[in-house]
């Protein structure tokens, strides 16, 4: 595959690259740009954080699971390019020195990249904004002090201009060359549909936050890759009076912005989905099509009665999202068929989504529960409840719903409904949680929903000393 992009302001044109090459390996092993570190090689520690800029703006991403073809037409800035052209430190660099934010220093370049991105974007929620960067030395206190200290510094000129801007300066990629692996980069959904129908064995790559691990950790053989990030017409959010249609290529970061307005509890949960680096590139289509039993968005979408839009060639069909997930590792998706969009009906917000994990940020759910319960006159008039982590698939809790609907919203009903969880789910024990814990917590999340309606404090994040 042939690609072109900006690297710290200079043009890079590569021909015949192996599409599985990660940006991290390429930087470190061929460009002698070693500021960007490998901490985990799976997008969980942030030591490899770099800045990527395109028409949608600048965001920090993990270079270890960013395939080179994803950079085509964009601008990449590494830590080597964050100080000014004359060596003037970026405000976050100076603040990290002044506030003793580095100890061993190995995580520091990744923090600097993420902090510079947050600084550029005016993002001052540092607990969330830095949650994708692990530090084992400092306990984060001095890093947070540094980030806050830099908040008020103006964005340096060099961050506003070259090399942060992509576009016309980037040369076109050359003609196709020999490469170890066939790879494609369609720029519209029709071309994608043709390609994928013709090559149903291809691996679709959107954010690569999962496929990246297939390569870096699992040595999975890939026969062909189709990169989706240029398919702009899969990235639309279309709102009508009756529904919201979310293109498969919409990132989790954009979904958060949408849900902040429509279903804030969903947005709050999504702020704990992956890390800022992951949410910047991971897509809702990937999250669904991946079929994970613990993908966090599907339970919430199922509680919102989402509809999935699938396409194969020119054939399109829709189905309830809940019906897409058949069994562990099995979805109702034909070879060559892909997720085009997911849509949800416009509706009043009753949704609560709660994710239970060992760590608040950037953890995989032990249990993720989504509840949409409507109460009128003390009676439950509707209930849609779905869970991740409780079965081999994201799954509706139909027995629990049945135990609620038509009943009075009281503790007796609650007790009966909680007992019904055992009818809906037979969860597994694994390194994240035991089956007994999962079952108890799932039921207790229903109790939390009830307790909230009684006015009790239920959110440990809402408590201050």
């Amino acid at each position: 595959m042939n690609i072109a992009f900006l690297l710290n302001g200079r043009n890079v044109a590569l021909t015949g690259i192996d599409a599985r090459t990660t940006t991290l390996d390429w930087l470190r092993e061929t460009q002698a740009l070693t500021a960007t570190k490998e901490g985990c090689n799976e997008g969980d520690c942030g030591a490899c954080t770099v800045l990527v800029t395109d028409a949608d703006g600048t965001r920090a991403v993990n270079a270890c699971i960013l395939f080179l073809p994803q950079l085509h037409g964009r601008a990449l800035r590494t830590v080597e390019g964050i100080a000014g052209p004359d060596g003037t430190p970026h405000p976050v660099q100076q603040a990290m020195i002044d506030h003793h934010g580095s100890q061993c220093g190995f995580c520091t370049p990744g923090f600097i990249a993420q902090m510079a991105a947050n600084h550029l974007n005016g993002d001052t929620d540092h607990d969330t904004g830095l949650s994708g960067n692990l530090c084992r030395c400092t306990g984060y206190a001095p890093i947070l002090r540094a980030a806050r200290a830099a908040d008020s510094a103006p964005v340096p000129d060099w961050m506003k201009t070259d090399p942060g801007v992509s576009g016309s300066k980037i040369p076109p990629a050359g003609p196709g060359g020999d490469a170890p692996l066939p790879a494609h980069r369609p720029d519209n959904a029709d071309d994608l549909a043709q390609l994928f129908a013709a090559h149903p064995d291809a691996t679709l790559v959107a954010g690569a936050t999962d496929v990246g691990l297939w390569v870096t950790k699992q040595n999975r053989p890939l026969t062909r890759m189709i990169f989706l990030n240029a398919v702009r017409d899969l990235q639309d959010i279309v709102e009508t009076e009756t529904e919201i249609r979310i293109g498969a290529g919409v990132t989790i970061a954009r979904l958060i912005s949408l849900m902040d307005r429509l279903h804030p509890s969903f947005a709050a949960m999504l702020r704990r989905y992956g890390s800022p680096q992951v949410r910047a590139v991971a897509t809702i289509g990937g999250n669904i099509a991946n079929g994970s039993p613990i993908g966090d968005a599907p339970p919430a979408l199922m509680a919102l009665e989402a509809t999935l839009h699938l396409r194969r060639g020119n054939a399109r069909r829709t189905l309830s999202l809940a019906d897409f997930f058949i069994d562990y590792g099995r979805q109702d998706r034909a070879p060559g068929e892909f997720v085009e969009a997911v849509s949800i009906p416009r509706q009043p917000d009753h949704l609560r989504v709660w994710k239970i994990a060992k760590r608040h940020d950037q953890d995989i759910s032990a249990v993720c529960g989504a509840f949409d319960i409507q109460i009128a006159g003390g009676q439950v008039t509707a209930a849609r409840i779905a869970f991740g982590g409780m079965a081999g698939i994201p799954k509706r809790a139909r027995a629990v719903e049945a135990a609620l609907i038509g009943q009075s919203w009281d503790t007796a009903t609650l007790t009966r409904a909680c007992a019904a969880f055992a009818d809906d789910f037979t969860p597994l024990s694994d390194m994240r949680a035991s089956a007994a814990y999962r079952l108890q917590v799932a039921a207790n999340l229903l109790r939390r929903y009830h307790a909230e309606t009684t006015g009790a404090a239920t959110d440990i994040r809402g408590i201050t000393a």
């Binding site: 080597e80 003793h100 306990g139 206190a141 953890d363 390194m431 917590v441 307790a451 408590i463 201050t464």
Partner: protein, 780 residues
Amino acid sequence: MSVGKPLPHDSAPLHVTGQARYVDDIPLPANALYLAFGKATIARGRATSVDLSDVRAAPGVLTVLMPADLPGDCDTSPSAHDEPLLSDQVQFNGQPLFLVVATSHLAARRAAVLARVTYAEDTPILTIDAALAANARFEDGPRIWSRGDVTAALASAPHLINGRIEMGGQEHFYLEGQVSLALPGEGGEMHIIASTQHPTEVQHKVAHALGVPMHKVRVECRRMGGGFGGKESQGNALAIACAVVAAQTGRPVKMRYDRDDDMILTGKRHDFRIDYRAGFDATGRLSAVDFTHYTRCGWSQDLSLPVADRAMLHADNAYFLPAVRIESHRLRTNMASATAYRGFGGPQGVLGIERVMDHIAQVLGLDPLAVRRANYYDGSAISGPGTGQRYGGLHSPAGATPRNTTPYGQTITGFALHDMTDVLAQSADYTARRAAIRDWNAGQPILKRGIALTPVKFGISFTLTHLNQAGALVHVYQDGSIHLNHGGTEMGQGLNQKVAQVAADAFGVGMDAVQITATDTAKVPNSSATAASSGSDLNGMAVLAACDTIRVRMVDCLATLHQCAPAQVRFADGRVQAGATDLSFAEAAMTVYQQRVSLSATGFYRTPDLSWDRIRGQGRPFYYFAYGAAVTEVVIDTLTGENRILRVDILHDTGASLNPALDIGQIEGGYVQGAGWLTMEELVWDAAGRLRTHAPATYKIPATSDTPPVFNVTLWDRANPEATVRRSKAVGEPPFMLGISALMAISDALAQAAPGAYPALDAPATPERILMTLNRMRAQ
């Protein structure tokens, strides 16, 4: 003066720009080779056949080494010579069976998983109970230290408790994984550049593997991307593997573990089970305590004996134990070999007695802080003649037996925790907040808050006494610039900066005159590991000695030359005054050089007054103690077990701090790491002995939002009564144990969620463990 100033880490400008160079960042020649281990997929047994045809055929593979291809056993152990580099005798899941040599790191990794191995499997020993049943242990039997008649004291105690606490291990999760690089030289020389806390150990092990004297091997380490004890012995295998292949091929060889390999192959903190029986009076004051420690050491001995010893040595923490018995079982299990980790067993021992304090308080219905204080060692007895033991029996207070002797017979002097607890309890408003929390909890059905104050007393010195030594090499060049080298290693703690501050002051020059250089066995030989919090204590003194040697030579030379008394030669502010003559330090250096006086010196230090018999458990293993105390407030969710630290207040004793900013960094970082150990970091092995939590996706260290939103850290900045470097105190490990207050605060919250039952909370207190504990309490 530089000492005492809160200067930034010397490498901070390099860290933030990415210029700080780690081993994997060093450019290599194009003919360099890369290694990966092929790992066993069973926990115990024998690899009866290893088919490497696919491995050998994989792209980029040059060769594959089996055990027979090694020059000898290539043992990697720091202690018992029980860790062959490669072996077909499988003792843990992940054990290296063969070594892939390839032209790239990725090629080696990808090939290493292609072997077809058949095994004759044995049943692995994975649990404490299984190891006890099989009598699988290190040493002949348990170590037992005791004082007084514990059985009689327990029998006559007004109140008795017994209980058990299980505490998990901990992955170091240094951000930079293990990595080593070997550059072959001429005539059998080998230059190793490694991420190691112990260059001399690497030198020793590489020399052994190659069958050459240590003088053929040079080991260098500029910095590590974190160590925490995990790079004390666990990097040996990589350095040896690189050296062996470099010797065989004559090519540079690098090996680094992918994160999953790192977590599967290397040791972690020892997990412990501690059983206890304690007798006490109505105020909670102990008359006797009987501890039994069980720890899973993994498949090899590594550093487990001194780790388990240090757990015993900290079974008292801050408390006088009149009659005490400590029995310690060091169990051999088919798991990665547990190793050094910040605190080195101390945290486990401390947690045992802190659990006892918490348990006693609950039984008596007292504030746990009152129980802790009732058991504190007697206060400082060094404030003046006639006030204490230090000045002999004649002047000792009459009456009660002094409560200031540890179970191992060391007399405590300078016990600071009475005063520190007063100051901290007041600054943290402990009593009022404890009451307010109880009021708040009474009105809350779902959330419960808890608070706890716990102290730390941590012994400073290697318990293997001969390790308490250090060397340094200092050059003053003719332009007045200073080259600084010592045997300690930099892993982020700021050791080099502290030592450079000491050196700058010794010559009265600014920090920019001092160049910090990589730790190098060719410059300073026979170094000890940078461990046991000893880095600045030992190396600072050695550097000071070297600087003093040079300074005395300069003084003598300049006094003679300028015809003044030596006392009239003074170094300050980058100038040297010799009588009436005023020179810049550079001019002074040039003058002394031209007088043909050596401006280079070694320095050496050995900690005084140590003696220790680890079999009897008697002596003075520690030069002094470092103290600290923390108040933590938490909130828990009784529906899910989710929990959060709300506020932390710490008062920590750093002696006369060499650098308050670096010390506060150690305290904040140590607290969060300690709280992580006890709350969210959970290692899970399955029934086949496979580690299921071998990546950050499944093993969760604290993240940004886990840092306490209110985090007040204050230094107890009083000179160390002992003659340490500039009267400072060690700070690397002690603050780690401040995190125990988080676990105890969760225990407090649980006790209020189900009044009447004792939580007996194990660690890590994950949401699941908290909820299951609550279930058990409610069922009682």
